[in-house]
């Protein structure tokens, strides 16, 4: 019951924050979508970090390191520290300055202007929205699963036990459908009340919460495992491959062998049952493998997605001045480190931790994303368990809110107001249109989430790959005068075709470890889109002098010109 009370109190606090931030609203579309471009350094740091770190930062980092070892830090965290800050510094500040000077609210407005093309916006709109939906799905599903798991036993008179095998849920748990619906509604309410200002405030609070709770969890768990040195020593003894990126011939691979034994027993039991009572077939166990150099190198392309996330673009435009970006550029790698290092260590320790003669994570445990929750429920108090759940929900919601707002913004501004006529759509109507579209998208996402599609995390990596492969478009738009409208179309279309082809090769995400030429598919897609952009631009007529002057002359000379 304690975790449920803490979660409820936390959600109530978020609603209160939405109400308070709504009091600062000026009632205009620019204020709702961009906080009147008045966000300061601290809020920008927190909202950029909170938005880029999804639930994956706490739950996924622990789960991935449990599965693959310490290599995930270099693969996903330190690379992001370098590349995200590069995107903020090299792309974000420039886009902020264009937004400030030319009054942009959305990414598509910028691309339409920069490439002198109305149609480009129409091509980009479904791609951007389509790539965000899997991202939303991860958050909505993650929230439902988390709440269901930690509230087991809380309200037994209301909710009965259900499910079989690993999917079994004990009596009293808030059902998945209800938990995910509540989170969607709470985020919608505070986004609707506070607009981007509300999301920035909520993100700041939520980011602080999940950072502090991550560190507290690390301290508590390491203490229960007999101290940090003992926890690592157990891994060195039983599963040393988790402390490096190779698997050696003589490694004991204790967890793998024990998992295999459990799997074989489960499979035999499953085969012995009549078909109608079997349930799902037990999940096969993979043998640990070494991480390839090219795989590691090519993962560097994934964080480039930050340069093309429409919700990040919107956060950049909220900055009060260019100088506001300074703190975010510098602190972002350190904030990632503060969250990821403890989580990666906890995930690695979980592979080998033995308490009272029994493994803390039972052998045969097949859901890496549930490892953190399991460790906390076994090793910490119900109070910490509730707080950590609030931290996980904070990480989920701090991404969902920005995405909800951004989807509404691009629909209201780039489709509705753009085609109905900007002079015919009032600020209030624009905000209402944005809200209506968000509700529609959230409803679609929620209905998809109810089907619990498998491999949703793999789909997430594919959607990041899609955004990353469009990075050459934004980079060229900002730095290359010679890039043309035809080059932009070639970039977008070649990225889409290559993405679809490789996605089909991976059996539509069914193969989660799919590599192409030993590299992450994103590397090939991005290289293809870059080549297409450069070649077609060079072969087509350069943009008009007026357009080049608008984006490449110094601001003061532009103002003098005007």
């Amino acid at each position: 019951m304690t975790p449920l009370v803490i979660i409820a109190a936390y959600l109530a606090l978020l609603l209160l924050l939405g109400v308070v931030s709504s009091r600062f609203s000026k009632g205009t579309a620019a204020d709702y979508f961009l906080a009147s471009r008045g966000i300061g350094s601290f809020l920008l740091v927190m909202s950029l970090f909170g938005t880029t770190m999804t639930a994956f930062a706490l739950v996924g980092s622990t789960g991935e390191s449990f599965k693959a070892g310490i290599g995930v830090y270099g693969l996903m965290a330190s690379s992001s520290g370098i590349v995200h800050s590069a995107c903020f510094f090299l792309v974000g500040i420039k886009l902020w300055s264009f937004g400030k000077q030319h009054g942009y609210i959305t990414q598509i407005q910028f691309f339409r202007d920069r490439f002198e093309s109305d149609g480009l916006g129409l091509v980009l709109f479904p791609i951007l929205v389509g790539l965000i939906i899997p991202y939303l799905l991860i958050g909505v599903m993650g929230a439902g699963v988390t709440i269901e798991k930690v509230t087991e036993g809380a309200l037994p008179s209301l909710f009965a036990a259900h499910g079989v095998g690993p999917a079994a849920v004990k009596a009293g748990a808030i059902p998945y459908w209800l938990g995910s619906a509540v989170i969607c509604v709470i985020v919608l309410i505070y986004v609707f009340l506070g607009g981007v200002r509300g999301t920035a405030w909520a993100n700041a609070m939520q980011t602080l919460i999940f950072m502090v709770l991550g560190v507290v969890t690390f301290v508590v768990i390491s203490d229960k495992l007999g101290g940090v040195a003992n926890a690592t020593a157990m891994v060195q003894r039983e599963n040393p491959e988790k402390l490096r990126r190779t698997v050696r011939e003589g490694d004991p691979l204790t967890r793998y062998h024990q998992n295999l034994a459990v799997y074989q027993k489960r499979l035999a039991d499953w085969e012995a049952k009549p078909a109608e009572t079997r349930g799902a077939k037990p999940e096969a166990v993979s043998r640990p493998e070494s991480l390839g150099y090219l795989h590691f190198l090519s993962y560097l392309f994934i964080p480039l997605s930050v340069g093309m996330f429409p919700h990040l673009f919107q956060h950049w435009l909220t900055a009060r001045s260019a100088k506001t970006f300074r703190l975010a550029v510098i602190l972002h790698p350190v904030l990632i480190m503060i969250v990821w290092v403890p989580c990666v260590l906890v995930g690695v320790w979980a592979t080998s931790a033995i308490v009272d003669g029994r493994p803390v994570v039972p052998y045969g445990f097949t859901n890496p994303n549930a490892v953190l929750g399991l460790l906390v429920s076994k090793l910490a108090t119900p109070m910490l368990s509730g707080l950590l759940t609030a931290g996980i929900l904070a990480a989920i919601m701090s991404s969902l809110d920005s995405q909800f707002l951004c989807i509404g913004s691009i629909f209201a501004n780039d489709i509705a107001a753009h085609y109905l006529g900007h002079d015919r759509v009032t600020d209030r109507q624009r905000v209402l249109l944005g809200r209506g579209f968000v509700v529609l998208i959230v409803l679609v996402t929620y209905l998809l989430a109810l089907r619990r599609p498998g491999g949703v995390f793999t789909l997430g990596v594919w959607c990041f790959s899609g955004f990353a492969s469009l990075f050459p478009l934004v980079f060229a738009a900002v730095y290359w005068r010679r890039v043309t409208k035809a080059g932009a179309y070639a970039c977008v279309l070649s990225a889409a075709v290559t993405w679809l082809w490789l996605f089909a090769q991976s059996r539509y995400g069914a193969n989660p470890s799919f590599l192409f030429l030993d590299m992450m598919p994103v590397a090939t897609i991005t290289m293809v889109s870059t080549v297409a952009l450069v070649l077609v631009s060079l072969l087509t007529k350069p943009p008009q002098t007026g357009t080049i002057g608008k984006f490449f002359s110094r601001p003061e000379s532009r103002q003098a010109h005007a």
């Binding site: 030319h102 009054g103 690592t232 050696r248 190198l297 510098i330 602190l331 260590l345 624009r430 103002q559």
Partner: protein, 83 residues
């Protein structure tokens, strides 16, 4: 200085590939952090230092002149200036 800072950032991207610790699970920093992880945490700290240098020496100074109220009438595709 600007070229040096960008050069150092490219060097950091190369150093991030740390194949020299790829196969090491024996060396522990502070007695509990595997060297491969400690090294990558060091990469994160180095990234923060290098981006601080970039902010100091590679800052796009032309953006500092953009002040409140410097918005144009609004983009052709609509925007706050046209709302």
């Amino acid at each position: 200085m600007k070229k040096l800072v960008y050069g150092l950032i490219i060097l950091l991207l190369i150093l991030h590939q740390d194949f020299w610790w790829w196969d090491n699970s024996e060396t522990l920093v502070f007695g509990f952090i595997p060297i491969g992880l400690a090294y990558q945490a060091g990469v994160s700290l180095a990234a923060a230092v290098l981006w601080a240098l970039a902010v100091k020496y590679c800052w796009p100074s032309e953006t500092d002149t953009i002040e409140e109220g410097s918005e144009a009438a609004g983009p052709a595709s609509g925007g706050e200036g046209r709302a």
